[in-house]
């Protein structure tokens, strides 16, 4: 049960490690989980127009976690922002828990997609952007978070190559780059998107002000990618 006090408690960034340790049982967290922590926090704290009281609002922004691996940071942020009860966190991965090692949108309040198999979020995000446009919903923005190694999947490149020429301005991608791809994209990640007509910014993925500035930078007529660099996975 979630008490009123728990729901009304305001969580800060500094609470996230504690929320994550409720899932992992210790103070150390895998790099795949924490690489996304700052990006997720800045998005949910300052950028996304989403409301846990109105999770089905047609006018909400859509955030699609494509990189479903290591979702502890995601669950921690969703809990901190009131989408799911904090007391769900200790059950992480258990048979009767809604919180799996990859998220399921039908089980996790606030999760727009289930993910785990890489390369699915960005194509769905393209369709989401097109669907909102077709219904005359001008406000909602669409965000997909992917990992640098996830860009190995060809499905992303189908989406990148389509979204640029289609001028999907409301589409945003955050690539969390922890240098985990065995074969880095020739020319770099931002250049791949720019070649397809996207607006692109590369920033320090731990610098909240830099992330916020990159997330909110204008990009008229073009989709926008933010490459958020964090410490290499192998470091």
């Amino acid at each position: 049960m979630t008490t009123i006090e728990e729901r009304e408690r305001v969580y800060a960034y500094s609470d996230l490690p504690g929320l994550m340790s409720m899932m992992t049982g210790d103070e150390k967290h895998g790099p795949a989980a924490t690489s996304t922590l700052d990006v997720l926090w800045v998005l949910y704290d300052r950028v996304l127009r989403v409301d846990p009281e109105r999770p089905d609002d047609p006018g909400r922004d859509r955030f699609l976690l494509s990189k479903g691996h290591g979702p502890m940071a995601y669950y921690a942020v969703l809990a901190a922002k009131g989408f799911l009860p904090v007391d769900w966190l200790p059950g992480f991965g258990r048979y009767d828990s809604p919180l799996g090692h990859h998220p399921d949108r039908t089980l996790v309040p606030g999760a727009e997609i289930g993910s785990g198999s890489l390369g699915h979020g960005l194509p769905i995000a393209v369709g989401t952007a097109l669907g909102l446009r077709a219904q005359g919903l001008a406000e909602p923005q669409v965000w997909a978070l992917i990992g640098d190694a996830e860009l190995d999947e060809g499905s992303n490149h189908e989406a990148i190559a389509f979204a640029g020429p289609a001028g999907l301005e409301r589409l945003h991608t955050v690539v969390v780059d922890n240098a985990s791809a065995s074969h880095a994209l020739p020319g770099g990640i931002a250049a791949r998107f720019e070649a397809a007509g996207w607006s692109a910014v590369t920033v320090d993925g731990r610098d909240h002000e830099a992330l916020y500035a990159a997330f909110t930078a204008p990009h008229p007529g073009r989709p926008h990618v933010v490459v958020a660099r964090v410490e290499p996975k192998t470091a």
């Binding site: 699915h120 194509p123 769905i124 369709g127 669907g131 077709a134």
Partner: protein, 306 residues
């Protein structure tokens, strides 16, 4: 006679006009038929280029915003190539769509095996919750397309083919029709194989059921038919042989029964030519069907006597 596919774009164009939820997603194939629809509804007719993973992903994204996507290309590139997208972007996301395929098992034999998809229905059978329509005539295709689009947020597959029966039957999007009644076996003819089945069973004492919606399978109609015709069941399917054998076994699990699953063979023929030649090569022409069905319902005695 026009083909099922000739009906597809005009029918869906009318649905685009009538229903603001309807959207069409294409991957180049079939785009010419939607040129006028694209002019009228530029935001609801999307051609993603030759990108079939994106084709299905975009369909799922449209559905998640509340639209009713109609997703179309050849069966090989709609079901086989982006199969994980069907499993995850639609099934796992709990998103609905209408998939409309063309080219079927061997509509374009000269195009070779790359454009043949006899395994499409069997593949969908590994997933939960799909409705599968296999019309046998352009008029039936039109009816079933409309039903598919109107089916809420269901996941529906409509399998169009150039193979067709000469006359259309009334179809209701769920039940089998009894076309002929007999006492020594039940033959279930799926979609465009009906004419060959009727010709092949002429004079035989068998019941012929006509199926245009195969998932869910009308087990009630099958069981009713077995009450007078017995529990020897022959399936004649225009896709991979035996695709529905397990469904029939499950439907009759409480009674002794036999099932013969006829359809397209798994073996790759590596032949070109015509549809008729491929029908014959897979033993689905009227003469072959007559021999195979007769052998089965008589326990092989007919051929032995011959």
């Amino acid at each position: 006679m026009d083909t099922m596919r000739d009906r597809f774009a005009p029918v869906v164009t009318r649905l685009l006009d009538e229903d603001p939820r309807v959207a069409v997603v294409l991957a180049e194939i079939g785009k010419d038929g939607f040129a006028e629809a694209l002019r009228r509804h530029p935001d609801r007719v999307v051609n993603v280029g030759i990108r079939e993973q994106l084709l299905v992903g975009v369909g799922a994204g449209l559905a998640l915003t509340g639209l009713r996507p109609v997703v179309h290309t050849f069966a090989s590139f709609l079901v086989e190539r982006p199969f994980e997208q069907l499993k995850l972007d639609l099934g796992h996301q709990d998103a609905g769509a209408v998939l409309v395929s063309a080219a079927a098992s061997f509509d374009w034999p000269a195009g070779g095996y790359t454009h043949m998809a006899p395994g499409d229905v069997a593949l969908l059978d590994t997933l939960d919750g799909w409705t599968v329509h296999v019309p046998g005539h352009p008029d039936e295709a039109e009816t079933l397309l409309r039903q598919a689009v109107a089916a809420g947020d269901d996941k529906v597959y409509v399998r169009l083919s150039v193979q067709s029966n000469t006359e259309a039957r009334a179809v209701d999007g769920s039940r089998f029709r009894t076309v002929r009644e007999g006492r020594s076996g039940v033959v279930v003819a799926v979609g465009p194989v009906l004419d060959a089945v009727l010709a092949g069973t002429e004079g035989l004492d068998v019941t012929v059921l006509y199926a245009t919606t195969v998932r869910p399978f009308d087990t009630a109609a099958l069981r009713r038919a077995t009450e007078t015709a017995g529990t020897d069941v022959v399936l004649v399917e225009p896709y991979l042989a035996g695709t529905s054998t397990a469904v029939v076994n499950d439907a009759l699990s409480d009674v002794p029964h036999r099932v013969l699953g006829l359809g397209v063979a798994r073996r790759e023929l590596r032949r070109y030519g015509t549809v008729e030649e491929h029908v014959a090569a897979h033993g689905l022409d009227a003469r072959s069907l007559r021999r195979r069905i007769t052998d089965f319902v008589t326990g092989g005695t007919a051929t032995q006597r011959a």
